[in-house]
């Protein structure tokens, strides 16, 4: 059995996903970071971006994360985000509409958020 780590993806108001994984890739403020089992204890600040979790069953879970933290210790990885959505929860058409609206209004923050969600939704 391949080594695995336990992942908890939690948003402020709910637990989004939890399970075993072999690799987690997330975007921190200083660049993308990949965490595999046995990584050194780590605490980082997340950028808004997609998080890729390769589960131990061989599947891939992709989530859009907006701000938050990644912390890893004792083979337990926690991803804390204010807002986190799994790719299958994201309604592509809805996000596209949001993106257009954000562009029209010149709201860079909302635009970035919509882009991240769109990328996460289409990546899987």
């Amino acid at each position: 059995m391949a080594a695995e780590l336990h992942v908890e993806l939690v948003a402020a108001d709910r637990q989004v996903w939890s399970g075993e994984a072999t690799l987690v890739v997330a975007r921190t403020t200083s660049g993308d970071i990949g965490v595999m089992p046995g990584h050194q204890p780590l605490l980082g600040v997340l950028e808004s971006g997609p998080v890729t979790i390769r589960t131990s069953e061989g599947g891939t879970v992709i989530a859009a994360v907006h701000g938050g933290f990644i912390s890893f210790a004792d083979n337990k990885l926690s991803l804390l985000a204010e807002i986190a959505e799994l790719s299958e929860e994201i309604d592509v058409q809805h996000v596209q509409r949001e993106l257009e609206r954000a562009k029209a209004e010149g709201d860079a923050h909302a635009e970035r958020r919509a882009e991240v969600r769109l990328r996460a939704a289409t990546a899987s």
Binding site: E8, V10, A11, A12, D13, R14, Q15, T28, T29, S30, I33, Q40, P41, L42, L43, G44, V45, G68, F69, I70, S71, A73, D74, S78, L80, E82
Partner: protein, 305 residues
């Protein structure tokens, strides 16, 4: 029907209508408590992980941060008071306000100037009526607070604490809310949120024999702490908002239950009085008839002679 009896009947009808209303409100509140409690437990994993992370950074690095270091001479403090928008919840709001006033008095006794931040229409009304200054207030979401609401509440507070005291910033942040202990018990408590006492936070979360690992910070301990502490404050405020909402619904449920019970008792008493009035009426009618008949009999007996 006699006048007395009619009055009783009318009162019974009106109390019955009131009882129906309070009963409905009791049931609504009961279902909302359950919902609010579920929200509290749903937010727990995030709060726990966040507290762990704060403890890890705080104990694992020697970084000094405005949000964790105590001012040598604290002169201004902010008090955030959580009340509800609507009443009908027994002593819920007055308890919270009382706790806030005690805390304010204590802080002022220590020579600090107190800025009041208030959530909930009841608290705002209380302060406005007494013409006290309110630094900022929010209303309209106390029944079902969302994380976005917690963020809007936290933003000016975090800003105030990061500012220098001379420029209108504050040195301390206290929060007064109603802690949800159980369905029957809710207590108004005041506690200091900032500056953080890391030892206390560590005690709350860490199991006794757990040693926190030495973390690698990405990008650096200062940056992580910078990003972490506002989130920590938000999450604490969110948790307090949720607990306060759950407490409010529990208090409403209890108040409405006793209102329903009282209405039932009142109906019983009124029904008894109405029965007595009806009986008195019948007795009077009978005695009137008997009296009338005997007077008539006497009169005819007299005329026969």
């Amino acid at each position: 029907m006699g006048a007395q009896l009619r009055v009783y009947k009318r009162r019974i009808r009106s109390v019955t209508a009131t009882k129906k209303i309070t009963k409905a409100m009791e049931m609504i509140a009961a279902s909302r408590v359950v919902k609010a409690m579920r929200k509290v437990s749903a937010s727990t994993p995030y709060a726990q992980e966040l507290t762990r992370a704060v403890t890890a950074v705080g104990t694992g690095s020697t970084t000094k941060h405005p949000l964790t270091t105590e001012a040598e001479n604290p002169t201004r403090a902010a008090v955030l008071l959580l009340t509800s928008d609507r009443g009908l919840a027994g002593a819920f709001n007055s308890n919270a306000i009382k706790a806030a006033e005690q805390l304010t008095a204590r802080l002022e006794g220590e020579g600090k100037q107190v800025d009041a931040y208030i959530v909930g229409r009841r608290g705002v009304a209380h302060y406005n009526f007494r013409e006290r200054k309110v630094a900022e207030s929010w209303t309209g979401f106390t029944d079902e607070p969302s994380y976005a609401d917690a963020k809007t509440v936290a933003a000016p507070l975090i800003e105030a604490i990061q500012k220098d005291t001379a420029d209108g910033g504050v040195d301390e942040l206290h929060i007064v809310y109603t802690e949800f202990v159980s369905m029957m018990t809710q207590t108004a408590t005041g506690s200091r949120l900032l500056p953080l006492r890391l030892e206390e936070v560590a005690e709350e979360t860490a199991k006794k024999d757990e040693i926190l690992p030495l973390y690698d910070f990405e990008p650096s301990a200062e940056d992580v702490l910078d990003a972490l502490l506002p989130r920590y404050v938000e999450s604490r405020i969110y948790n307090a908002l949720l607990q306060s909402a759950a407490s409010k619904h529990a208090a409403t449920r209890r108040a409405m239950k006793s209102a329903t019970d009282n209405a039932g008792e009142l109906i019983d008493n009124l029904a008894r009085l109405a029965n007595a009035a009806r009986q008195a009426e019948i007795t009077q009618e009978i005695s009137e008839i008997v009296g009338g008949a005997s007077a008539l009999a006497d009169a005819t007996a007299g005329s026969d002679k």
